[in-house]
């Protein structure tokens, strides 16, 4: 009998939790705020589901009930993606080391 693909996805999920665990513990505490904003941005990769839903319509029916939710989700996720990455970039640009020759 073949293994259910669900089990493979579950394995990826569990292993990713462990990766997340070790990677996040190594994040320096001074960067915890950028960590939150960047995790916020990457969790908006949920936009892929929104894209599939939005593009399901044909030329006649661009806005079907199911598609509308897709389009709405695209707007929300796009706010997060652009907002999250840019605000992270803005914060990280401020972290500077001591200038020795001053």
């Amino acid at each position: 009998m073949e293994i259910d693909p669900f089990i493979f996805r579950l394995s990826i999920f569990i292993l990713s939790i462990f990766i997340g665990y070790y990677v996040v513990w190594s994040v320096t505490p001074s960067l915890h705020t950028p960590l939150m904003s960047v995790t916020n941005a990457i969790s908006s990769v949920i936009i892929v589901g929104a894209i599939i839903a939005a593009l399901a319509g044909d030329n006649v029916n661009v806005f079907d009930t199911a598609n509308i939710f897709g389009f709405l989700a695209i707007v929300l996720a796009a706010i997060n993606i652009f907002g999250g990455f840019l605000v992270t970039q803005r914060m990280l640009a401020m972290y500077k080391k001591k200038q020795k020759n001053k």
Partner: protein, 466 residues
Amino acid sequence: MISVNLLAVFYLISGVLFILALRGLSSPETSRQGNLYGIVGMALAICVTILSVGNFSSAFIYLLIFLAIGGSIGAYIAFKIPMTAMPELVAGFHSLVGLAAVFVAISAFLNPEIFNLGLPGSIKIASLIEMSLGAAIGAITFTGSIIAFLKLRGIMSGSPIVFAGQHYLNLILGILLVSLIFYLCKTQVDIWFWAIIIISLVVGVLLIIPIGGADMPVVISMLNSYSGWAAAGIGFTLENTALIITGALVGSSGAILSYIMCKGMNRSFFNVILGGWGANDQSSNSSSSKEQKPVKNGNADDAAFLMKNASSVIIVPGYGMAVAQAQHALREMVDALKKNGVKVSYAIHPVAGRMPGHMNVLLAEANVPYDEVFELEEINNDFANCDVAYVIGANDVTNPVAKSDPQSPIYGMPVLDVEKSKSVLFVKRSLSPGYAGIDNDLFYRDNTLMLFADAKKMTEEIVKSL
């Protein structure tokens, strides 16, 4: 257009790029590179998804329009937001992720064919469970984050809202949710699906209202974690590796941050979640006793004199500094002190501010080099050898009562040992207790000089007299 296997490989690559994005945050030098990895991973995931659907009809044009609308709103917010408002911003962003998860779950439920989940009315049971979980967690994240946002923004009072039977109500709603998911799988009737979403929206509100303002760092981290689990739930439904990996990363990241925050307050996670802490039954009885105690009151000139003649000064910033926007004035003060040959460093408590790492960002904004900023464990022993501790906008995290009085609600919480320094300058508007609602013993010590003023004004005055 793209084969299913190739698509899966691309999703895996963006998952790996996201891991590298988080990995980069282990030091400020590598962090900017890491953020770039994250952006590339996201762009890759979006592009291959569009290519795989291969629909370039008018729907595609609309997609670009909606993407541009959302993108410009996001970019506008990102450039305009003041750094002091980061906690609200992050809470607001969490609510959007939550709502997006709900919307994607709804479209998957209404139109399961496009996601290969079966036909409406006969969706695969596993997919139904996954999408209901994704929608439920997403909905909880959505309303929960909105409440957190309102509390952080000050639109809603930060004091906990508790009522009789609250925990039982939550318990009943939780059981109801589980049974609704069960009914949905059994009957496939859409009314149960909508019911799941509505009840989850209510649960989100109920979960966050009893949690007080001082516990916001935990709440934000917790909602961060929830948004990750919601994404993972949707990832299982859509059989998408990038989403599953990301969901797991974000979920564990938020969980770890919640743990760190709870440890910083010496409280268990459940204690915070059940809420009601910081209600003001404590402050009422302490206010009557404190009026008799003498306090040494100083002004800017005294403070400037003390610090100028010190050889080392440690600055302890707290939420009050953020409220007063005093970080730039503080930096000027430190520059002036350094010119006088004073060694200055900053001490940051894990729960200072309203979100993890909040103080570090504000200091970075004011051009404070990050290698002058230290965490509690790194710097706590230095207080004994330091001449002046300048406490600006912090209160409970310096309260020595946490070490001495087992009766105190904050007993056992790790605190900064500011009282060990030769003198303590405490900038505060009044003698009122902090968020924990308890009196700070430090105010009445012999080596403490209270500077009653707005944090920014006082710091500016000190700069003048230096």
